[in-house]
């Protein structure tokens, strides 16, 4: 990694990009001395956030841009996921109480349950999602 404290990935909304992006983010987190479980959880949350961008922000389109920026911060790792889609914000993050037979919204529940910071910031031309996971 050329710049060891940040990693910027420019990719597209094609679900084929989920695994390679997830793997690179997990490797970055490991490089920042995050514990293996935290690396896995950040990878999962980036995967879920990108899948939601594909499904909701871009209406299933495979060829739209997504930028993922992972950064070392004082308390752990921050990942910013930028899209240029419809800019709709989930009105509220769902409660962790879910019906197991209706798994929709699970991605957002993962964000809420596993991340220490989850912040949706609507942009004039899309959405910026910031998630953070502490080292401890």
């Amino acid at each position: 990694m050329a710049d060891e404290t940040s990693l910027k990935l420019r990719t597209t909304s094609d679900p084929a990009n989920l695994a390679p992006t997830r793997h690179r983010i997990e490797a970055f987190c490991a490089h920042q001395q995050m514990n293996p479980e935290a690396c896995d959880l950040i990878g999962l949350c980036v995967n879920e956030a990108m899948a939601n961008v594909h499904r909701h922000a871009y209406g299933g389109a495979d060829d739209q841009p997504i930028e993922v920026l992972a950064e070392r911060v004082q308390r752990g790792v921050r990942v910013s996921i930028r899209d240029w889609g419809n800019g709709h914000t989930p009105a509220t993050l769902p409660d962790v109480k879910i019906d197991p037979l209706r798994p929709g919204g699970l991605g957002l529940i993962c964000l809420k349950q596993y991340m220490d910071v989850v912040q949706f910031s609507p942009q004039p031309d899309g959405m910026l999602l910031i998630i953070e996971k502490d080292r401890t």
């Binding site: 989920l18 695994a19 999962l44 899948a51 499904r55 197991p100 209706r102 349950q113």
Partner: protein, 121 residues
């Protein structure tokens, strides 16, 4: 006992033993390939009603919410026949996601295929 060919590397081995369908699932599963898993499972279930669908997921190190949705759909189809879905050999990362989705309460989790085969329906 009869073998199935699901036509996908995600489910390389599947067979029927009595009233049970047993399938081995392999690889990381996310939104990119979960439709493939869905097709394979639906194909297995088209072979006739079964009381048990046993998925050996010991070769699945990762799955996301789209894979969870596929498993729930398979479970709902099994329930129509009065059947159950068993998951065996769960890796920790997959178990964690099942727990957060509370699916550990609706699937039957077993150590291995043999234990699932011997479990009462």
């Amino acid at each position: 006992m009869s073998d199935f060919n699901t036509g996908t590397d995600l489910v390389p081995l599947a067979r029927r033993e009595g009233d049970a369908i047993i399938a081995r699932v392999e690889g990381e599963i996310d939104l990119h390939n979960s439709p493939e898993l869905r097709s394979a499972l639906l194909q297995l279930l088209q072979g006739g009603p079964a009381k048990k669908l046993i998925l050996n997921v010991s070769g699945v190190p990762y799955m996301d919410s789209s894979a969870i949705a596929v498993l729930v759909e398979a479970l709902q189809k099994m329930r129509k026949f009065g059947g159950k879905l068993y998951l065996t050999g769960l890796q920790p990362r997959v178990r964690g996601l099942l727990e957060i989705a509370r699916l550990d309460t609706i699937f039957v989790l077993k150590k291995d295929e043999q234990e699932a085969l011997q479990a009462p329906v």
